[in-house]
């Protein structure tokens, strides 16, 4: 370790003059925060911090929040480093204000063993934010035989999923939830009845009809969520997390499960609360993702659920792809878009300014909400003794996103050139500033 980084990791940092929003602690007030030795040392009224600090961060006019957590990212390692690496993906995460990311196992090979989980978490990967691997729910994510949940969990995986594919078989899903219940381990479902979506490349509606594209009915998502919630209600202590929920009918099932006190949670992506199927325009492959952009009715239902607390977290489903995988016929193009660097800006621009959702709720969806979904202890709140992960942002800053300047290795975003309000100013992981904009 160099002398410089030695000094940085052991330094104490005082964040002064900001507005602290910490929904888990029910704080929305001007507060100073002292970080020391990678932990939160003190949170106090302005100028009332007693401890001394080696460095100060002037946060006047800014929001100070617990570090943001993204429950759903594809960092493409092992095996697809031409799309993204853990180093580049976590750099993009830091630029977007995320201090922790949960990585999906649909890599090459699939992360279905403890060895790969350990590999992902090793310092050689060069991560600049915390990486929490999600293991494959079934071997090779083939949907047939459960992977060794206990071994994955011991190695540091925080959940299991076959993301990219659903766990279709009723018995396998039931067994996954049962084993998860024994281990207090969440099962994350990519809800898509692939029997209804073969060769489909967008949402079924007027736009898909106009473009002549085979299309996925909303029912392909809702049907699986309905079944999963029913299973979660039947299996005591099981934990179901619905990934990238995108339809109004799937939300109804989640509400039903929550009312019945089942341990059911869900996440929503920024693109699903911002865009519609019609934005695909004339076959723009940067608007092709799975689940696809949905109807206006679906988006409306999602906005209501984000506001009323039904949705637990905003997750990006950051899915980088190389240019040659997108510059092809729409039906042949890879599913997915990048999202780490635009998530907060979309939340503030769309949810807060346009739909009047309070900033405290938005911060909750990036912090306390996701921390609860996967039980990330010591994160999601800036209580004393917690990890010194902090996101500082300017909710009024106007800026233009340029895909060419993204820190991701890939450029597949529909938001190139978009004007936003709200920008990350600094991202602090373990007390160390890992990203800063002026």
């Amino acid at each position: 370790m160099t002398a410089k980084s030695q000094r940085e990791t052991s330094a104490s940092l005082l964040i002064k003059g900001g507005q602290l929003i910490d929904p888990a602690a029910k704080i929305n007030a001007p507060m100073d925060v002292l970080l020391r030795d990678g932990r939160v040392a003190e949170v106090a009224l302005p100028n009332k911090v007693r401890g001394s600090a080696d460095e100060k961060f002037d946060a006047r006019g800014l929001i100070v929040a617990p570090g943001f957590i993204d429950l759903h990212v594809h960092l493409r390692e092992p095996g697809q480093s031409y799309k993204e690496t853990i180093a580049s993906g976590t750099a993009a995460a830091a630029a977007g204000g995320f201090t922790s990311v949960c990585t999906m196992p649909n890599t090459a090979p699939v992360v279905d063993t403890a060895e790969w989980v350990t590999w992902l978490r090793s310092p050689e990967r060069g991560a600049v934010v915390n990486v929490f691997p999600i293991g494959a729910a079934t071997r090779g994510s083939r949907g047939q035989t459960l992977s060794d949940f206990a071994a994955l969990q011991r190695a540091g995986a925080i959940a299991v999923t076959d993301d990219g594919k659903p766990i279709l078989d009723d018995d396998i899903m039931r067994m996954a939830l049962r084993l998860g219940a024994e281990l207090n381990f969440p099962v994350v479902q990519h809800a898509e009845d692939t029997r209804l979506t073969e060769n489909c490349s967008m949402h079924e509606g007027a736009t898909s009809f106009r473009l002549g594209l085979r299309a996925m009915p909303g029912a392909a998502e809702a049907g699986i969520v309905d079944r999963d919630v029913t299973l979660a209600q039947q299996i005591r202590e099981s934990r179901l997390h619905v990934a990238h929920l995108s339809t109004s009918n799937a939300l109804k099932s989640v509400r039903r499960g929550k009312r019945a006190k089942a341990r059911v949670t869900c996440e929503v992506t920024p693109h699903h609360f911002t865009l519609l199927d019609e934005n695909v325009g004339e076959y723009d492959t940067n608007f092709k993702m799975n689940p696809p952009l949905r109807s206006a009715g679906d988006r409306e239902a999602i906005l209501v659920a984000l506001a009323d607390g039904t949705v637990d977290a905003i997750a990006t489903d950051h899915a980088p792809h190389a240019l040659h995988e997108k510059q092809v016929e729409f039906e042949r193009a890879a599913f997915g878009i990048t999202g780490l660097e635009t998530a907060l800006a979309l939340a503030i621009t769309k949810l807060h300014r346009e739909h009047k959702i309070p900033l405290t709720r938005i911060v909750e969806l990036f912090t306390a909400g996701p921390a609860r979904v996967f039980d990330l202890r010591g994160r999601g709140s800036l209580a004393r003794g917690n990890f010194a992960d902090v996101t500082i942002f300017d909710p009024r800053k106007r800026w233009t996103f340029e895909a060419a300047k993204s820190l991701s290795l890939s450029r597949n975003t529909p938001f190139d050139g978009w004007q936003f309000t709200g920008k990350v100013v600094a991202t602090i992981v373990g007390g160390k500033i890992v990203h800063r904009t002026d």
Binding site: E204, G205, A206, F209, R210, L211, G212, L213, R214, E282, Y283, H324, Q327, V328, E329, F330, E331, R332
Partner: protein, 304 residues
């Protein structure tokens, strides 16, 4: 991504009535039997990723009637087999000197991708289930040989609208020129959402209702393999939707019967209808050449 080069024809949807009428007027002045070397020295690539008889041969005759050179590139026997991408194939054709590319492709939007990256006109000769603009133009051309004007006419399109690029282009074109359209077929082929394609589209499940008083009957090919995946059986389809002499009597006396081909006698229509006096099916094929001459002349800026 760039705007399509001038003269490109990607679909009917984004053309206005004036542009459509201009093309039809130009087509009327084209005579395949009297060669006019408007495009002498021009090179036109015919890039066909799908089987085609009439579209391919008529584009080729159209180009040659105007004095242009053509080259045919098909997916088998070309570098496409070796995995060359669509865009790279386009760049290659541009580099060997193509002045325009006519493309037929099984994937909707393939011509749009080409047009966004190449600076030469791209002509859509059918893309997946999306559009088939030259077919819609030759159909309008054919109707106008039998009717004074399109405005105020009634047309009934019967069959598998969902999977049909011909139907989509026809709906856009005829609606823009004032034709009232009824779509007819079972929900598997004519979902309710089909009515959103163009203003004023009407859907009926009863062929008798759809035919009553219509001026133009447009039939679509029914692919047996498509029926196989659906709840509707071939015999049911024939019973409910086959065009027969008895049913045609419900239409106007001077109604014409159209079909983009290839036809399947005994399925979507009887042989009597196909060969009957009201059928213009062969004439449509014939009209493909002058219509495509107009499209190519416009594409290469020789429309005057």
């Amino acid at each position: 991504m760039n705007k399509p080069a001038r003269g490109s024809l990607l679909g009917i949807e984004h053309l206005d009535a004036k542009e459509i009428l201009g093309l039809l007027k130009l087509a009327r002045r084209m005579n395949p039997l009297k060669a006019r070397p408007l495009l002498r020295g021009k090179r036109i690539a015919l890039l066909f990723y799908e089987a085609s008889t009439r579209t391919r041969s008529s584009f080729e005759f159209a180009a040659k009637s105007l004095g242009a050179m053509t080259t045919l590139v098909q997916s088998s026997g070309s570098s496409i087999e070796k995995g060359e991408s669509l865009l790279d194939t386009g760049y290659t054709l541009r580099a060997v000197g193509a002045d325009a590319i006519v493309i037929r492709h099984p994937s909707a939007g393939a011509p749009h991708l080409m047009a966004q990256h190449l600076d030469i006109p791209i002509i859509n000769a059918g893309d997946g289930m999306h559009e088939h603009p030259s077919q819609a133009l030759l159909d309008a051309f054919t109707i106008l040989k039998h009717k004074k004007s399109l405005k105020g006419l009634q047309a009934t399109i019967i069959g598998d609208i969902l999977h049909s690029r011909v139907a989509r282009s026809a709906c856009h074109l005829l609606t823009k020129l004032g034709v009232k359209i009824t779509l007819c077929g079972p929900p598997e082929f004519v979902p309710e959402v089909a009515a959103t394609l163009a203003p004023g589209l009407r859907i009926t499940r009863q062929i008798e209702e759809g035919l009553r008083g219509t001026d133009v009957v447009m039939l679509l090919r029914v692919q047996k393999e498509r029926l196989a995946g659906q709840k509707i059986r071939v015999q049911d389809y024939i019973a409910r939707y086959q065009m027969t002499a008895a049913r045609l009597k419900l239409a106007k006396r001077d109604a014409i019967v159209m079909h983009p081909g290839p036809i399947i006698r005994g399925l979507e229509l009887t042989a009597e209808i196909a060969d009957g006096p009201q059928s213009v099916i062969v004439e449509e094929v014939h009209n493909g050449v002058p219509t495509r001459m107009a499209i190519l002349a416009r594409a290469l800026g020789k429309a005057k």
